[in-house]
Symmetry: C2
Subunit: 466 residues, 2 copies
């Protein structure tokens, strides 16, 4: 009891007693999973207001050997920010200020708790964009985006979150503040600590501030949905559009027939299907340019060529913003369709584009060897080699989950892919990381973790097998 | 003597006696600096033929506590690959095979000793490009490009070398082979060891193979030289072209008047100056697209707007490949001009674009406070915030060099920039890394070095102060 009291008092000293919560005073949002189910309550929720307070909290945690899990918007899907039972949930939600916009350098400096959408909006108000975009934009924080190296639907052109971060400030496990808030695109002075922290899921440090790289806002958006008769056609189309659209192709999303049929059927009451189902594949493509009228004509020309060359069997081009939203809804309005398929297990894997179709066939066969009636829904950011695969077996128990995970991840391993393209490892995939990383890689990761967090206080139950 | 003999015998066992060289049998190319001056001869030159032989050599080095410096094309400019006196120069020149081209995945898998130009040529033969380009392309190797995170003149669009590497295989200090030859663009499974190795200058491991990301080959190139009346105009022009050229702007190089006047005067016998000197700044801009005729017209339209808006005072657009070469020669044909200015000290720094002009003024003032007659030549990849600054004081002695370095790097520190944008640290800048990295950053780098190479055999005298 004394230790707990001492710890509580020390946390009070670090951030002020009004920002330390315990017991029933802890709001459910700090310990609720994706589906709204409560998780074990953490010992403390602590809400620092600045970097120095984060450092003070970590020094306290270090002294008391108490685990700390950093929380942003809690929109991750692998449990990486699940609060540590009996430990500290470190919420950065109060650190949500935009500190500076520098239009000449095209940078924005923000605190880690900034909501992605507020950053997007601020950039757009000044004729720029932060290219990162994803469904959770209204809740996800920049710090979380960095800690998980977020992906999304525009990676093809602008890369992942790590490609939009010029500098980070982070607090290390011992409370040391690592200051790297540079605005420089090029910096070859020593090891790239920034890239080591990005994607480390709160296990190596707490990201507190960042300098983001902005881009000029495109003034035109061209969007189309195409029906394709084979996966080879999808790959050929991708490469052709990348060439013909010369640097402006921003999305190339492919849906397998199972996905397209499920979505358009389940959402039929909301909106008609933009193209009839029945084709083996559908591609949603988008390009963003700088000459609205000309870009539309060019896009139509390129797609006309694609059709006349037989690369696509049918196509619909968005003629308005509303059209565009309807086309994207086919790809993104997943709640009702997923509900029909529930229970399901979701995968976010990557393999070489050249092996993607073979991978899907092999993964399905591997799952069906154990679950002959398994249903699949398949789609992904094909331009990035990233597949989302949903598997439904009618069961949701742990043994079934493990068996399906194992079948899919064994196939990923055989195809030399990654078991996590963009969602990360967290707790959901930590037992499987060995399917995607060699023992030598894992040993090196653990050695780095050991030197940066020797007391294992930073998100200790995440990323690596227990 | 016995230890040396034992070491020699062990190296013979590792790679075969015909690939181990000592004493006078060591060719000068393994221990010559940039200007052709001989450096101390290494104890051994060892030339492995494959990854397993690299691992065997490192195990030997580990056993004998012998320093190992990996050598590629020896085109670095900071001494990072200078052979270790009494140690092992590990030349990867025999490991120069292109192992696979995968057009559907747009990847090429190569051995580290591949020459950059041979990779460029192979990609182009299949309608693709490796976007990395730099003057040493005919000698520099892919392994060296990765180990130093090479930059060049197209970073603005395609990024640095780290943005073109999907997977690496490396051998760690203890001989462990770290296999990461994935073709995946997205991979969030654990810490990004690839990014840690890239740019580590041979101090954390020996990169032996890599999967490179290729891009569709552009079919049109538009190039122009513009005269500008202020640096503000340069920044405005950069942002306008980035917007108007929608993803196709690949180079934006700015030359200060001192640079332009020196180059065009010194090379006057070779070719006339494309624009008269006298403007405060010149910008060399290039865009690469997919519609040759249309792109030329668009480029002319955009530049006409730039001129009529007063953003540029004069401009010349290349009408042919020969024109284009002549424009680039203004930026790149530096031998004769640099000879006239010799002795000089060269800098490769980066600062925020918004502070670049102020930085140059401050750095010049700081140098001139000590050397009132100092001459400067200033140019850079402004789109990337990367400046090259040449300083001539008429003297080349160590004290002068140190005084000029200190003045420039103190200014870099004051502007929160980097003392090395693309060239790296090596031996040339290791005593100054503290101007660009905090004590906390350096302590963390050294801790990582300590855990990955506890015996300090990998390029031990590089990157960090002695």
């Amino acid at each position: 009891m004394n230790v707990a009291n001492d710890l509580h008092a020390a946390l009070n000293d670090a951030v002020g007693p009004d920002q330390v919560f315990t017991g029933a005073a802890i709001d459910l949002r700090y310990h609720t999973d994706l589906r709204g189910q409560p998780l074990p309550r953490p010992g403390f929720v602590v809400r620092p207001g600045n970097t120095e307070q984060v450092a003070a909290v970590l020094k306290v945690a270090q002294r008391f050997r108490t685990p700390v899990t950093t929380q942003g918007g809690r929109t991750g899907v692998v449990g990486g920010a699940d609060a540590p039972p009996r430990g500290i949930a470190l919420s950065l939600e109060r650190m949500n200020r935009i500190l500076e916009v520098d239009p000449a350098s095209m940078t924005m400096t923000v605190e880690a708790g900034c909501i992605l959408q507020s950053v997007q909006d601020r950039a757009e108000a000044q004729g720029m964009i932060l290219p990162l975009d994803l469904g959770a934009r209204g809740t996800a924080t920049i710090g979380g985006n960095i800690a998980t190296n977020a992906g999304g639907v525009r990676v093809l052109r602008w890369g992942m979150m790590r490609d939009m971060v010029l500098g980070v400030e982070a607090v290390l496990a011992d409370g040391t503040i690592l200051s790297g808030l540079h605005k420089t695109i090029k910096d070859n002075a020593g090891y790239d600590l920034k890239h080591l922290l990005i994607g480390s899921e709160g296990t190596l440090g707490v990201i507190t501030r960042a300098v983001l790289r902005l881009r000029p806002a495109p003034t035109s958006t061209q969007t189309a949905l195409l029906a394709l008769s084979s996966f080879d056609h999808a790959v050929t189309l991708l490469r052709r559009l990348e060439g013909d659209m010369a640097g402006t192709l921003s999305s190339f999303e492919v849906m397998w027939d199972d996905f397209y049929t499920l979505i358009t059927t389940a959402n039929a009451d909301k909106r008609p299907a933009p193209l009839p189902s029945g084709a083996p594949f559908y591609a949603l493509v988008e390009a963003m340019g700088a000459e609205p009228e000309r870009d539309a004509a060019r896009f139509e020309d390129v797609l006309a060529g694609v059709l006349s060359d037989g690369l696509a069997s049918d196509a619909v081009i968005a003629q308005s913003g509303a059209d565009r939203d309807r086309l994207w809804a086919v790809r993104e309005d997943l709640n009702e369709p997923m509900g029909r398929m529930w229970p399901l297990f979701a995968f976010d894997v990557s393999v070489a584009v050249s092996e993607m179709e073979a991978f899907v066939i092999a993964a399905k066969a591997h799952v069906r060897a154990r679950f002959p009636d398994a249903e699949f829904v398949t789609y992904g950011h094909i331009g990035d080699g990233n597949l989302h695969l949903m598997v439904g077996t009618g069961k949701a128990d742990g043994d079934t989950h493990h068996a399906v995970d194992t079948a899919v991840f064994e196939t990923v391993q055989r195809f030399n892919g990654s078991i996590s393209a963009e969602h990360g490892i967290g707790t959901a995939k930590r037992d499987y990381i060995g399917y995607t990383r060699t023992p030598a890689e894992l040993a090196l990761m653990k050695a780095i973790k050991g030197v940066m967090d020797p007391a294992h206080i930073l998100n200790p139950d995440k990323m690596f097998p227990a």
